[in-house]
């Protein structure tokens, strides 16, 4: 009647290793995604990362390229559940404000943003929410280059590619970030 077959995924098998590798590639980005949406609660984020890892093991049929997308969807649900269990979200929790985010996207390419603007919490929130929505690879690149000040050459050496390729990737990452802010559709 059923075509379902009970099987066992044993760590160490090739499928498990591929899933684990896919998880590792995006885990830092997912962790940031969780921390920003959990009011900075690293402990809760760790707990949800454990749950994500368990979910990742269920994704053995998912192409490696789609694992991150699936895990992000699961992370979103885990966060909702977390706040439901807590009863209510803290008032200071970052919330997406599409209008403010779009205005920020416009100003990012029209003027040099005054420091006073960057000190506003709602502006920081929109930037962090959008940044952590980016795919892990783009997120990493932006953070390492703009937040940690790593030069192109160092990034190229780390990633085993050319400086020109890094410039191209950063260009696309900036465009994605701007797109996220401009058309806010949280994943």
């Amino acid at each position: 009647m059923s075509s379902a077959v009970t099987s066992f995924v044993v760590p160490g098998s090739s499928t498990a290793e591929m899933t684990a590798a896919a998880f590792d590639r995006c885990s830092a980005g997912l962790y940031r995604y969780l921390v920003v949406r959990l009011d900075g609660n690293a402990h809760a984020a760790d707990d949800l990362m454990q749950q994500l890892w368990l979910h990742a093991q269920q994704l053995s049929d998912t192409p490696p390229g789609e694992v991150e997308f699936r895990l992000r969807a699961i992370a979103k649900n885990l966060i909702r559940t977390h706040w439901r269990k807590q009863g209510r979200r803290p008032a200071q929790l970052p919330l997406a404000e599409p209008r403010l985010a779009a205005e920020l996207a416009r100003r990012l390419v029209c003027e040099e943003l005054p420091v006073a603007i960057l000190e506003r919490k709602e502006v920081r929130d929109q930037l962090l929410l959008a940044l952590t929505e980016l795919p892990a690879a783009e997120q990493e690149l932006i953070i390492k280059h703009y937040f940690h000040g790593k030069p192109h050459a160092e990034l190229a050496a780390t990633l085993g590619t050319s400086e020109r390729a890094i410039e191209g990737r950063l260009y696309r990452a900036r465009a994605t970030l701007r797109e996220k802010l401009q058309h806010w559709e949280p994943t």
Binding site: S7, F8, S27, V35, D46, M49, W53, I74
Partner: protein, 412 residues
């Protein structure tokens, strides 16, 4: 235009450098944290197309998160419960899913006992039990299809439970009600008690204040034979012609446009469930159902807990939750569904635990007769000082002498 775009991008790059200097990022996870995300190597049972693998003991940790149970009418939830019946159990199991399903739909039952604890939503939670016996034995197929439903009449209904209104329940927040009910040939009454009726009084106004005192000690509304009287709207025998509805009533007012698609999918699944329960599903429908369910319960197993008693468990509905809206996902994701099957006797009970915002549970048992545990004794409430309101007497008083309950049935 290209130059303009380049300038835009350069400006953005400059702004990003400024942002990087002023906006603190969350701390990077340490190596120890990363290690902690991945529990020690273990074997974990999953369902998937990998035949030939050797079975091993399950030692994985169940995904823990609070969810809501979905027995309350969602076809998706009903389907999820049934999903376990179609999921191939472990190779060691002697009980096949088809046997369990067949038993569930064909076995004759005389009664049901439903025990629930901490079920509800963000506004309210309830704990209690309800027991029903029926005049004639019935099968689930009859209940679901409504075939011969005229014969499926609850003979006796007993309910006892408590309801608590949560802080989100606005004006009723904090209100706690104790409710009991008995409907049978011998007695018909409803009991309500509220230790602190202040929110209720506030909501009901001056009329509510009249009941404040009695409610504190409990009010027992004796219905006498009034429910048999057709003088009272809805006064037919309670629960007569019970039919389990697994889909929204399509004859209701037209649903909002944005809900139509969702309702349609729900109805489609409900129809599928109905056909499966009633034994009318075609092989294609069964295949379709299996395909749907394989997306839902990620972990399914059967354990022989006693000689001849098998418990089928399904957990981790996170796959289902990816496709559901947040509220339905909240019901299901970490719920555990269990069905107990005894050889040559059939299904004994089914339960859903760790479900909903309060991590509630519901257990359904098939019973033949009521026990003392099922019967709710009115004397318990009378001895605790409940005020008895004799409704038939009040009706007589209002209608005048000679008006007896059920009198309207007699020709004038």
């Amino acid at each position: 235009m290209a130059e303009r775009l380049m300038n835009d991008d350069q400006l953005m790059e400059r702004n990003l450098r400024s942002i990087g200097a002023h906006i603190p990022l969350p701390a990077e996870p340490s190596a120890q944290q990363r290690t902690g995300w991945r529990p020690a190597p273990h074997v974990r049972i999953v369902r998937g197309p990998e035949p030939g693998a050797q079975p091993a003991e399950h030692s994985g940790r169940w995904v823990q998160s609070g969810r809501r149970l979905a027995l309350a009418g969602s076809a998706v939830a009903a389907a999820t419960i049934l999903a376990v019946l179609f999921s191939t159990p472990t190779p060691r199991s002697a009980v096949q899913a088809g046997t369990i399903l067949s038993s569930l739909r064909d076995t004759l039952h005389r009664g049901l006992r439903v025990t629930f604890e901490d079920v509800g939503d963000k506004d309210v939670r309830a704990t209690g039990h309800v027991s029903l016996t029926f005049a004639q034995p019935f099968t689930l197929a009859q209940l679901v299809n409504g075939e011969g439903s005229a014969d499926i009449e609850p003979e006796t209904v007993y309910f006892q439970g408590g309801v608590t209104f949560e802080p989100d329940a606005d004006s009723l927040a904090g209100l706690q009600l104790q409710v009991a009910l008995a409907l049978s040939q011998a007695e018909q009454w409803v009991y309500v008690r509220c230790d602190d009726p202040a929110p209720l009084i506030q909501e009901a106004g001056p009329v509510g204040a009249l009941f404040a005192g009695p409610l504190r000690n409990g009010v027992l509304l004796d219905l006498g034979g009034l429910l048999e009287s057709e003088d009272i709207p809805g006064g037919q025998t309670p629960g007569r012609h019970v039919v389990v509805q697994t889909a929204p009533d399509t004859e209701d007012a037209a649903p909002a446009a944005e809900q139509q698609e969702e309702d349609s999918a729900d109805r489609e699944l409900a129809a599928l469930v109905k056909n499966l329960l009633s034994g009318q599903a075609t092989p294609e429908e069964i295949d379709l159902f299996v395909l749907k369910m394989e997306q839902y319960a990620a972990e399914v197993r059967v354990d022989e807990v006693q000689p001849g008693l098998y418990v089928l468990s399904a957990r981790d509905f996170s796959r289902a939750c990816e496709e559901l809206d947040a509220e339905d996902a909240g019901w299901l994701a970490a719920a555990t569904v269990q069905i107990a099957y005894r050889t040559e006797a059939g299904i004994e009970w089914a339960s859903v635990t760790n479900a909903g915002p309060h991590r509630g549970s519901v257990r359904l048992e098939f019973i033949d007769t009521l026990t003392d545990r099922d019967r709710v004794q009115r004397e318990t409430f009378l001895s605790s000082g409940a005020t008895v309101i004799d409704l038939p007497a009040i009706v007589q008083m209002v209608e005048g002498a000679g008006a007896k309950p059920g009198a309207a049935d007699e020709p004038e």
